[in-house]
Amino acid sequence: MTIDKSAPAAAAPATLAPAERAVQVLGGDLTEKALRQNLEGLPGVDAVGLEQRAAGLATRSIKTSSKAWALDRIIRLIDLTTLEGADTPGKVRSLVAKAVNPDPSDAATPRVAAVCVYGDKVPDAIEALGAAHGDPDDGLISVAAVATAFPSGRASLRVKLADTADAVAAGADEIDMVIDRGAFLAGRYGKVFDEIVAVKEACRRTDGSYASLKVILETGELNTYDNVRRASWLAILAGGDFIKTSTGKVQPAATLPVTLLMLEAVRDWHRLTGEKVGVKPAGGIRASKDAIRYLVTVAETVGEEWLQPHLFRFGASSLLNDVLLQRQKTITGHYSGPDYVTID
C-alpha cells in the first residue's frame, strides 16, 4: 500500500471497525483484489540493509544503571509461557507462582505482564492468580490464551472461533491467534483478513469490551522478509492489537531483523493513523543480553513509549531465569548461578 505521508495523522477514530478502517486506508473497496494489490504493492524489503541495521542496534553497550533499568523492564514485559501438551494444573500453578513472585529472595523484583497458556488452562491460571489477576499497568498479571488451533492453525473457522470464544468466556484477557499461513502463502489474503476480523469479534466479552488480540504471523514459515511485511500490514489492517512473531514451535522463531521489520510496520501505521499497535517477539529469546537488544530496537524504531506492557511483550519461558541471574549479579556484585533460581 502506498503510505501517503501527508495524510493527516489520527484521521481515523480509534473506534472504527477493522473493515471500515481498512477501506479508509486502502482507499477503495475491500476486495480480495484490492488487498492483494495493496499488499503486493508494498515496497520490497532491503534484506541486507535490514539485517545490518538490526546488527548495528545489537552492538549498543548497556551498562550499570541503564542495565538495571532494562532488566526490570524486561521482567515487566514478559509473557511467561507454558505451551506443552504435558501442561498439568500443577505446572500452571507453579508458572503463576513464578509470575507473581519471580525472585523469592528479592521482594522488589517486578512481576511479569502476563502468563500465557493453552485455552483450557485459563481457569487454572485465573484461580492460581487470585487477587493478582488484572491489568499489568496496575502491577497485576493478565492471562493470555493461545487459540485458533494453535500452533498450526489448521482447523475450520468454526472451530477456531469456538476455541477463541471458549477462552474469552473462561476469562482470558488476551488471545494469541495464529494466522492461516497456508492461505497467506497461497495468496488468499482476503481469507486471512476475514479470519482475523472474525476472531477479533469472537474476542468480544458479554459486557461489550474486547479481549486484546495478538496475531501470530509465524514468520519462520513465511520464508521472506517481504512476506513478513505484508503479513504485518494485513494483521494490523484487520484489527490486531498486537502482532507477534512466532508460536515458538517453529524454527527460526523470533529474530532481531524480523522484529525490527514488524516494528517498522507498526511505526508506519502509527504515522498513518495515529493508532498504536503492539509487537511481541516470541520464541528463542533466552538471554538477557538478547532481550536488551530488543529493547534498544524498540526504543530506536518506534520510541521508548512502546516499552510498556500494552505495546510490547516478550513471549518467553527460560528468559526470566537469565534476567533474574543478571539482576542478582547487578545487585550483589557477584556472579549468581542456576541454583539460585527455580527449575521450571
Binding site: 556484585g333 557477584h334 542456576p338 541454583d339
Partner: protein
Amino acid sequence: MSHLTIPKTYKLYIGGAFPRSESGRSYEVVSGKGAFLANAAKASRKDARDAVVAARAAVSGWSGATAYNRGQVLYRVAELLDGRRAQFVDEISSAEGVSASAAGAQVDEAVDTWVWYAGWCDKFAQVAGAGNPVAGPYFNLSVPEPTGVVATVAPQGAKGGSLLGIVRTIAPALVAGNTVVAIADEARPLSAISLGEVLATSDVPGGVVNILTGSPAEIAPWLASHADVNALDLTGAGGLDWVELEVSGADTLKRIVRPEPGIPDRALGRILGFVETKTVWHTKALI
C-alpha cells in the same frame, strides 16, 4: 634453507576453544633470564565468567561418563603429552631457565601424574565409599560423587613447576567427574596453554578443563564469590589474600582446599577434596 620464524600466539582455553581475552588485554611473558618470550592473554572477570558457563555445561557429560571411560581419557592425555615432549621441554627450559634434562624430568613427572590419576578414576570410589553397617534389614551405601565446577589456582612461581604445578591441580579434580576452571602460573603461563592444546586434542570434552592466563589476584575473587562454582582449590593462592577468598567461598558453600607451598604431591586426598558423599538406604531382599 632458512625458514621464517612463526611466533606462537598464546591464548586462553575456554569451552574447547582458544579465544583471546574478551578485554583484548595481553601481557608480556619473559624467560627465566628476563628475555621476551611471548605475549599471553590477560584474562578478565568476564573470561572467568564464560569459563564457568562452559565448565557448568560440561559437568553432566563428564560426570555422566563411566569411571572407566574417564580413566581412559586421562590416560590419553598422558599419551599426547608425552608425544609433545620436545615442545614442553623447550618451553619449560626457556621459561624457568633450567637445563633440558631438568625440564625433561618435569615433563616425565607430569606424564606420570596423569597416568597415576587416570588409574584412580575407577578405584577411588572403592576406597572412599563404604557399605555401612546398620541395625536393620537394609543395605546402607555411601558413594562419592563429583562436587561440580572446581576453580583452581595453580602454583605460582614454584621451582620446577611451570607445567607440573598446573597438572597436579587439574588432574585430581577431574578424576571424580568435576570440571575445572584453572588460573595458570601468572609469570610462566606458556606451558599451561600448550597443555590446553594437549587437552583439546585428547578425548577430554570441551569445557571440562578451562585455562585462564593472567592475574590470579584479579580473577580469583570473582571465581571465589561466583555462585555457580562449587569448589575452590587455592593451592597456588598463598601469595594472595587467600583468607578473603576462603570467606567469600564460604558464603556460597564451596569446598575449599587451602594454599600449599611449592608443588603439591599426587595424593588421594586431593581427589577426595572435590567429592560429595551420597548415602542411600536400600531394603535387603526378604528371602
